[in-house]
């Protein structure tokens, strides 16, 4: 909660929630509902205090929707709002007070709106008591109003959440975590709706068992789901970290190219965000960027480090590295489109690249993006034979090559992304004592093409 807009937004949501609750109080709340309400509040609190992180730090997921929707059926709009409001007390992590109050207000509002929807649509309950533990005779008629309430709850919840993320961004600046947010958004929506359905089952259990017994039984599958989601996120982080570490290992072969794949990967991700690529594709592209040069391992070290002009054979060996990379990563199942990106990242739009000599749109999109990020990083890093160029010079090189080496659309997107997000140039490496671990020329460098001995 940094920007002024974010504060305003929070204040707005909180006062709306407060106003609603105050207005609802006089309409009354039968005292017999208090025990149910407290059990539901406890259930909500337990769910809300143990969220599973989804993908990134930004969005976490907790199964509290089930408790909210059960409250809608069992204790009505006002009760559902009171249940949601306990999110203020959430025991999850070190949340700032502002964040807590906002969460409480958000859940109170969503619960209230869902409750009003439910009460307005249902025709099953006797007049004057439009909520409470459901009777067998109400089914299946109760399904429709409940489904409407669930949709309203999920939409209100995510709408308010989206608003605060949006306001925090302040319309400008890096969109922290936006990518991960989007990648998990559909999953979040679906799982929220799924667990909303559990709310109705919980309400039904309420009529045959004691409330707290029902709550405990329902907690078991909720926690198992949460456990699996947490495990998934953990595995995903471990996976990314391992991949990065292994890529770094590959780079240790050459002192000057350290961090190269990481930066290319980040550059590719910037383009993906700029052109609004779908989240799962963007993720695959990020990995492809990281792995694009892995095939260099298949090129003999003495060729990579040769100072003088290359023979045709040596040049052919270098041209083979995208294929070698493909060989290594081919078995990684999820990377289908990424494979094409790795294989063709040295194609040129004018058709003079390698290994296939593709031109224009024949080159896969991933390859065109990686090609641009790859070249830009090389230009703006130090090499043994020259100093790093500035970012402006790098941009100028990209513009020069647009239409011949690079896809102009991707170049434009990359430059726009640079303007928005900036670029972290690597620190110039201190020359290693062991002069053997340096490369005298770089196959990636468009400003200093490889010299090949012409054999007529």
């Amino acid at each position: 909660m940094t920007s002024r807009i974010a504060w305003l937004y929070t204040a707005l949501v909180v006062s709306a929630a407060a106003a609603l609750l105050t207005l609802a109080v006089p309409r009354g709340f039968p005292p017999r509902f208090w025990p149910d309400l407290i059990v539901l509040q406890l259930l909500f609190l337990v769910c809300d205090s143990t969220p599973a992180l989804v993908a990134a730090r930004q969005s976490s997921w907790s199964p509290s929707t089930a408790a909210s929707l059960a409250a809608v059926v069992l204790v009505g709009p006002f009760g559902a709002a009171l249940v949601g409001a306990v999110s203020v007390l959430s025991l999850h992590g070190p949340l700032s007070l502002a964040r807590r109050v906002f969460n409480g207000a958000m859940y109170a509002l969503s619960g209230y709106l869902a409750g009003v929807t439910f009460v307005a649509l249902q025709r099953s309950y006797p007049a004057g008591a439009p909520y409470g533990a459901p009777h067998p005779a109400y089914f299946p008629a109760l399904l429709l109003p409940f489904a409407a309430a669930a949709v309203v709850h999920v939409l209100a919840n995510h709408g308010l959440m989206w608003g605060v993320l949006r306001a925090n961004r302040g319309g400008r600046g890096p969109v922290l975590g936006q990518l991960s947010m989007e990648s998990s958004l559909s999953l979040l929506l679906v799982s929220d709706l799924g667990f909303a359905a559990l709310g109705l089952v919980l309400a039904a259990l309420w009529s045959v068992l004691f409330g707290w017994v029902a709550a405990i039984i329902v907690l078991v599958p909720l926690f198992v789901a949460r456990w699996a989601m947490g495990q998934f996120a953990e595995q995903q982080r471990a996976y990314a970290a391992t991949m990065a570490a292994l890529c770094q290992a590959v780079e240790t072969k050459d002192f000057y190219t350290r961090g190269h794949s990481d930066r290319v990967s980040r550059g590719a991700a910037m383009v993906a965000r700029q052109i609004g690529m779908r989240a799962d594709r963007a993720e695959a592209l990020t990995f492809a960027g990281m792995l694009h040069d892995v095939g260099k391992l298949g090129v003999p070290t003495k060729v990579l480090r040769k100072a003088g002009p290359l023979t045709e054979e040596e040049y052919a060996a270098i041209q083979l590295h995208p294929m070698r990379g493909l060989e290594i990563v081919r078995e990684i199942g999820f990377l289908n489109e990424a494979l094409a990106g790795i294989m063709h990242h040295h194609e040129r739009v004018d058709g003079r690249g390698y290994p296939m000599g593709f031109a224009g749109d024949e080159i896969p999109e991933f390859a065109r993006i990686i090609g641009v990020a790859d070249a830009f990083d090389v230009i703006t890093s130090t090499r043994s034979y020259r100093k790093a160029r500035s970012i402006a010079e790098g941009v100028a090189e990209l513009r020069k090559g647009a239409g011949t080496q690079f896809d102009p659309v991707i170049v434009a997107a990359f430059i726009a992304a640079l303007d928005r997000e900036g670029w972290q140039q690597p620190d110039p490496p201190t020359a290693p004592a062991d002069s053997q671990t340096v490369t005298a020329q770089d196959h990636d460098d468009p400003t200093a093409p490889l010299r090949v001995i012409e054999t007529a």
Partner: protein
Amino acid sequence: MTTHQSTDRQPLDRPADRWSSWQAMDSGRLLLLAVSGMLAVAAFASLAVTTQGLPVMPAIAFGLFIAFGELLRLALPGGREAAPIAMAGAMGYALLLGLKDQPSQHLALQVVAVAAIGMTIGALPHVAAGRPFGITGICTRLVTVACVAFIFRPLASRPIIYQMRHWWIALSVMIVLVVFGWLIETLISALIRADDVGARFGVAVRDEIRVQWPLGAAVGSSAVITVFAAEVMGLTELAVFMGPLLVTQIAFRRYAGIRATYLQTVRSLASVTEVGGYVESGHSRRVARLAVAVGRELGMPEPDLLDLEYAALMHDIGQLSLLDPIPGGATVLVSIADQNRIAELGAEVIRQAGVLDGVAELVRCQNWPSRGAEPPPPVGSRIIRAANAFDDMVGGSTDRDRTAAALERLRMDTAVEYDPRVVQALTEVAGRRPAGRL
């Protein structure tokens, strides 16, 4: 919990799904098939004699639920397969008390019949898509459900159970039975798995419990929830409850999926040493397979086996820091100081990941002698050391004389260099492997 160790071996479920190869089946699996076959025959026979007392709509609804769950089978870590939704449905049907105040009085054999039909229907699309029928899993689930049904159905007709005035009695009985059912399923799975992968039964039971408890808890509580909610909602409950069950299943699927991808990626990236000409082709994978087999022989639990597999796959990663590849990649031929340096470099690379410190430790100690080193190297490192040396000498060859000579050479070094227990296990494993494959 090991992920898909079997992906490039025969899938574990295969042998049982080919009826033609039934002679090759082990006794545990045959017994399971025989028992469930008899159960199914008895169930269908009783259905043919009389369908009295079996309300049609609930039977169809639960049958569909079970079939749908069987369709959505779930791959679990370690090449296991589960059908949690089918299991929840079948258990729910076995424990069903009533639908909207209408007591359910179906019999145990009728539960078995509905479950068998549902599971078979749900498995057919798998067969159509070229995947295995999964007879072992289906039989395991069927026997489990039958055990629970035979105990509970007679009880369900007693007023003290089905009258909701005494809901807590019914609830307690159900919880006990759900746990009992889970134990039976776990024991059967462990028995089959011990036969399949050559693990010890005790270790297999522990592994099975570790992998299965989250799903077991979810399935059991779902069955209980189904029973009590159906008292109020009737069959509507099955449709509504499918929502949360599906979400839970999706979460599990994603989890199992990323674990599989993870292992696949480590495998692929570990092969960079081969493409770079640092080691002989296929070396890392052969060492990994051998190491896992030896580890299993020594009774290592699955989480340790997974670490061992990762470490074995990446044991040569330190060579990437070498200027020029060691000829043939045979680290066994280089000076011990160099070997340790390479191992340290490799461990450093792995430690960078921040999540594989155990693996890094195994890689770091991979060249330490089993005796005399202080502290003594972990078992995993000793296994990798022996497997690595074995593969450096034998390679992809399956020549018996060559294998015997290599084992002999390892055995001569057991005083200091190699752990005698590891070499013993290695001998067993190498003796078992059929010509051409491990």
